[in-house]
């Protein structure tokens, strides 16, 4: 049974059959205990997973079915519900949990957070960032005028 991951998805090669483990890619991560940089593993977006539980990944909204067996095993939901679930999972996977930020994400204003060297986060602008920025500028200008 096969599915394709929509986004980069963390995995654990040691828990996978050899054929699937070979699809995982390493990226550096810091060990919280020793501070050493070690490898974390993930499936890059678009990776096709062949696994008896591939349908679960589709139901969670993190993958799309890529063979008929998987399509048949998945929950039967409307296209709208599917899109909603996939978008919600993307927000979850990017750690976007705050209500206001989730709203910005769903409206295409931001696509996630960028981790900055000083430990703070910055928004990664999305396709509708311009409109949002203009609106904020306009509100600020109005406030300044009123003062």
């Amino acid at each position: 049974m096969k599915c394709k991951f929509i986004n980069d998805t963390d995995t654990e090669p040691s828990l996978l059959p050899e054929s699937e483990a070979a699809k995982a890619v390493a990226r550096p991560s810091r060990n919280r205990e020793t501070g050493e940089i070690r490898n974390d593993w993930y499936f890059p977006a678009g990776t096709e997973l062949d696994h008896p539980d591939a349908w679960k990944m589709v139901n969670f909204g993190m993958a799309t079915a890529s063979d008929q067996e998987c399509v048949d095993a998945c929950q039967k939901i409307t296209a709208d519900e599917k899109s909603r679930r996939e978008l919600a999972y993307q927000a979850d996977a990017k750690g976007i949990n705050e209500e206001a930020d989730r709203d910005l994400f769903f409206r295409g204003v931001i696509t996630g957070y960028e981790r900055l060297q000083n430990g703070s986060l910055a928004y990664i602008p999305g396709p509708n960032w311009g409109d949002h920025a203009q609106k904020i500028e306009a509100e600020k200008a109005k406030e300044d005028e009123e003062l």
Partner: protein
Amino acid sequence: MAKLKSRGVIFAQYVSAAYVAMAAQQSIDISGEASETNDTTTLDGGAYKTKDPTGYVDPPTIKLSGLYDPTIATYTNFAGLVSTPAATNFKITYTDTAPTSAIYSGVGFAIDKKISPEKHITADITIVTSGAPS
């Protein structure tokens, strides 16, 4: 020293072949990880009692608190573990640039739901871990 934001921390449960993000969490508490000590005070010793390390370490217990939605993956996955427990990996990824991450092996699972008229429905998840985090 960087001041890391809690916002953006990702906590995920390993399901079948991948880490699945656990959504809508409002707090994550990882505590109880401590080296074990043993009282080694002797009757002929000084006034101050003595303690020594046994060489063992208690692994932490993880507690999550968040908004409850029985339809989302966070809870459907976890409910399965409560009824049919099996050692399962959980991964936390912090918000530093590296980023720092840790993987815990969960062996005991509990979920408590809270329903009251003036609040949203919430759930508290408890994960008892075993062995050294990696």
